[in-house]
Amino acid sequence: MKLSRIALLLAAAAVLEFFVGGSPHRGVLPVDWFLLATATVARSGDFVRAVLTGTAAGFMEDGISQRLLGMNAFAKAAIGYALTLVAVRVVFGGALAVGGALAAASLVNEALVALLSALLLQAPIVILSRDAVWRAAATGLMGAALEAAWGFSWAEWWKRRRLRRLR
């Protein structure tokens, strides 16, 4: 994946994070957009870029939400590597698999950040909270929807639709 596209992805993730997170309806679909950006790069199979994208996305997230810079960067770099490994090693795919992998990745992200918070800030470990599970579900759903939309042959559908209308 080209660097310009990665930069665009990260910018889009940041915009969406603020767009949804700043609204009063933020709790409806609390998608981890930075994780989706990392997963999109990981999907292309490039380990280095996936790790670096995860790091950049994590730093951006830390800048806006965490007391320490680097906790989400640590988690997302590791997740970027793991997701690339899954992308190049696992044969089966599809929207369900992608959604499941992303939901699991979101929970792992939470767990890593909670662990780092406990180690560095002596904060209580909060992993499987309702917020975390809902965020994982929302991220998985959004990832599955994007995967399904990506794999759908829109050109053919449009052609068929036009033919149907002409008849």
Binding site: V15, E17, F18, F19, V20, G21, G22, S23, P24, R26, G27, R43, S44, G45, D46, F47, V48, V51, L52, T55, G63, I64, S65, Q66, R67, L68, L69, G70, M71, F74, A77, A78, Y81, T84, A87, V88, V90, F92, G93, A97, V98, A101, E110, A111, V113, A114, L116, S117, L121, Q122, A123, P124, I125, V126, I127, S129, R130, D131, A132, R135
Partner: protein, 294 residues
């Protein structure tokens, strides 16, 4: 889930390079984290303050667009409701009904504004109202970005509240944007007082959306429904702001009760907050210093 292009396939065949990069990144993260780990009572780092300042224009604009967008959606929803309501009476009094709807909306808005002003005036040392740009709930950390910074008079540890009750405090200040820790955060705490009995304790967030009141002796007569308010003994929160109501009381260890408190403020739907002036600590009473309020 397969690689999309030949270059990616080449990279995928040999993940060692990626592993080396991952190791370097993780080590770098650990070093950065170690460098930032604050001592007790530490505030936001300078680095974070710079980042907040630099991102202020962008975050501000996105938040404005977001508010406009969601406002438009809400307005559309309200409009649809109004239309369906008016549709039933359109045949008879269409013009009058529209006028009535407009007047009702104005009256409702006016009433809400008056109520906010009246309830807000009970809070001590209001500096001003600040909008929430982003709310993040992750791994026990519950924080918000607010659209005001040092330029608007925000200082570290400034308390934040809504008319219903206490919300949290500012931890990192940028020029136009600041980050605040909510009371629900797993590492947040505030000096608290049971309004009926006058006993002092420490309210802590549990990171899951509830609060606990600690350090209340088992001899206390605290009961479900008792109001818990800020005690003004921690040097951060002013005295007398509602925090919540006692939800349940159970026997904890030998000395103290386990008290769960349901927050007075509706944290799920916060949009604007009132910024208060930091309060100096009261000389007597329980010591809940900055060390406790991390």
């Amino acid at each position: 889930m397969r690689p999309q292009n030949p270059l990616a396939e080449i990279a995928a065949v040999n993940p060692r390079r990626g592993g080396a990069v991952l190791a370097s990144v993780l080590v770098a993260c650990v070093l950065i984290l170690s460098a930032q780990a604050p001592g007790r009572g530490g505030r936001g780092t300078v680095l974070q303050s710079w980042i907040l300042t630099a991102s202020a224009p962008v975050t501000g604009s996105i938040a404005s667009i977001s508010r406009g967008f969601w406002g438009a959606i809400d307005s559309t929803g309200e409009l649809l409701t109004a239309r369906s309501e008016n549709g039933r009476l359109r045949r008879d009094l269409e013009v009058r009904e529209r006028e009535l709807f407009r007047l009702r909306a104005e009256v409702r808005q006016l009433g809400a504004e008056r109520r906010l002003a009246a309830e807000g005036s009970a809070l001590p040392g209001i500096v001003g109202a600040v909008p929430i740009l982003l709310a993040e709930h992750r791994s026990g950390a519950q924080s918000v970005l607010i659209g005001a910074g040092s330029a608007q008079g925000v200082a570290p540890d400034s308390p934040l509240a809504v008319p219903a009750g206490l919300v949290g405090r500012v931890v990192t200040v940028g020029r136009g944007v600041s980050r605040a820790q909510l009371l629900l955060d797993a590492s947040a705490a505030a000096g608290a007082r049971i309004a009926r009995t006058g006993e002092l304790g420490v309210v802590r967030g549990d990171g899951r959306g509830a609060l606990t009141l600690n350090n209340i002796a088992t001899t206390s007569s605290v009961a479900r429904g008792d109001l818990v308010e800020s005690a003004g003994i921690d040097g951060i929160y002013p005295r007398g702001i509602p925090i919540g109501q006692v939800d349940s009381v159970s026997r904890g260890n030998k000395l103290f009760l386990e008290i769960r408190v349901s927050p007075a403020a509706d944290f799920a739907r916060l949009t604007d907050l009132l910024l208060l002036a930091p309060a100096p600590a009261a000389p007597e009473g329980l010591e809940v210093g900055r060390g406790a309020v991390r």
